[in-house]
């Protein structure tokens, strides 16, 4: 089974990503956000949804996310930073408490920022040495801005 980093550990990926209409959907599926919204009645229980770059999170504002275990955010290219905003919005605006998973083409050197934006799991599309990636799985020990972990900017924390 494919591995990923979750909550700072290398674990098996127990979910399957649905990115093709032919795929069978199960309780372990992470389905496209729009598909989930549009087929709420017929889909049944799924593990989660994934948001593609360009979709934004507005469509989720009136949805009950508490029934989902995971909200995934796709990075079509690692330089495409839309997902950083999506992660924060899913946490801070939509109040999602479950797993926020980065999927797609991000790179291990982005983990520090992704963690601060509320991501808790990292499923690399590319072949990445996860042991080495874990070494980068930490933000700097101090930060100027508030973030998902601590909303207080440095000026509220300076002694």
């Amino acid at each position: 089974m494919q591995k990923l980093i979750k909550d700072g550990a290398i674990v098996d990926n127990t979910y399957s990503l649905v990115n093709d209409a032919e795929q069978v959907i199960s309780e372990n599926s992470i389905v496209p956000m729009q598909q989930w919204i549009e087929n709420a009645d017929t889909l049944g229980k799924v593990a989660g949804i994934w948001i593609d770059a360009g979709e934004g999170v507005e469509a989720l504002e009136n949805q009950d996310l508490s029934q989902l275990d995971v909200v995934a955010v796709n990075f079509p290219a690692f330089a495409d930073g839309r997902g950083f905003s999506y992660g924060r919005l899913v946490r801070e605006r939509l109040g999602f408490k479950g797993e926020v998973r980065a999927i797609g083409n991000f790179i291990p050197d982005q983990l520090g920022y992704l963690l601060r934006c509320g991501f808790s799991a990292f499923d690399f599309e590319q072949d990445v040495n996860l042991e080495k990636a874990l070494e980068l799985h930490k933000p700097f020990s101090v930060a100027y801005q508030g973030d998902v972990a601590d909303p207080r900017p440095v000026f509220l924390r300076r002694g």
């Binding site: 950083f84 905003s85 050197d109 982005q110 930060a143 000026f155 509220l156």
Partner: protein, 553 residues
Amino acid sequence: MYQYDAIDQQLVQERVAQFRDQTRRYLNNELSEQEFLPLRLQNGLYVQRYAPMLRVAIPYGMLSSAQLRTLADIGRRYDKGYGHFSTRQNLQFNWPTLESVPDILAELAEVEMHAVQTSGNCIRNTTTDQYAGVIADEIVDPRPYCELIRQWSTFHPEFAFLPRKFKIAVNATESADRAATQVHDIGLHIKKNDAGEIGFKVIVGGGLGRTPMVGVTISEFVPREDLLTYLDAIIRVYNQNGRRDNKYKARIKILVKALGIDAFRKLVDAEWEHLRGKESTVPMSEFERLQGFFTEPAYKALEEQPQSLTDKLANSAGFARWYERNTFSHKKAGYRIVTLTLKKNGQAPGDATSEQMDKAADLADKYSFGELRVSHEQNLVLADVQQDQLVELWEAAKESGFATPTLGLLTDMICCPGGDFCALANAKSIPIAKQIQDTFDDLDYLYDIGEVDLNISGCMNACGHHHVGNIGILGVDKKGEEFYQVSMGGASGHDASIGKILGPSFAQEEIGSVMKRIIDLYVDQRTEEERFIDTFRRIGIKPFKEAAYAKAN
């Protein structure tokens, strides 16, 4: 000036370690070229035509003499003994080796400096007026606000991979805009409202490059405590909606233009509603803390225009010229702001040798409380010089090549490094600057011509700000040959405007004579009080066009 505390110091230290590891992994082939690219760019490291170029951040242009000495020393030991001051108040080294960059960063960290976010698609060094804090008509000192923005933008976790680079500039005077704020992604004008509260007029969507635009006002007044939440809102809207399919259409100006300012404002306001009043609202205690770093130095009670100064002004035409051009009035009686110009003929505009940097640091220690500023026009500024020491300083500045008395005149050009160094450039720019300096080498004539902003860029990326030069020169490539397109009528101050292209481009050797014909026409057409730009605005481009393309006879 601002002094690091344990948090600031820890952050730069950790950054050095992070970049050292990234460089090591790249050299070990553990990081691909493509992956290393944005990581090194976010640390100011370009790979140039001949060598890497490292751009060191000089936050809002403020430098201590100790920092400048470190830059001089780095220039000597890791480069070829010089550096280049850029229009964004930074310093560039053109010849370091890639392997040495982590060590350079470690040395910079020792003097509270870094190269964070001086390049890449992130929020860049915030710039401001080089006379901040020492001019009489300033609303408030903008530097505490620049420092607030510096901290907020440094390692902002959400905005490190924007569609494109993002530049913020701050201005705090009604009488001038020396930071070219209207051609920045965000321009901030510090204001006081009727109740005496401090806030910002916010201008968005200005920029140069391929599609130059003057920014538009998105808010007339954002209270200062709301500044960071408002900036977060603007950039969050941009991060999500800016174009990512075409790098030439990715700047925020394109988004603002495409949506229209009203629709863009609506998106920002909707986002701001969620952020306003939350934790990133800046408390009064933080403004007070930051202002505490920018208090007045120990000024003496001095007489304005002392006898020794007026005598010298009367007796020395050379000194009077320098005083008139290169010094500026100070808010304190008996003091003067002095610009050390880096525009000596024969030296690339903005370049300073390590020896000159050491000398400037000495002059700062001796005459200006050990501090300097870098200006947008690529000069150095000593902000607090006693008027009774000006003669002495002038003599010393002359010896070091800092006293070319042409500040604001035609030969005080803004010029990018161009094809001599930069891999992006289509054409060289330094030889063009040299040709113009040679053409206009007569000081009396230069003084008679008066104030002209002449800006030169070696390519469309417009690092030399050619669009906002009263005269702009742009290097273009035509089938492998270097040509130069001339534009006119640009301005970067409160009256910001984008220049218009004069017509077909000129061969390199023609530029000097073309400039001569343009200037001759101005001298012929001007009224007594008119600056170059005023005459241009009155008579329009047509006569200039005719003059520029007139065959020599």
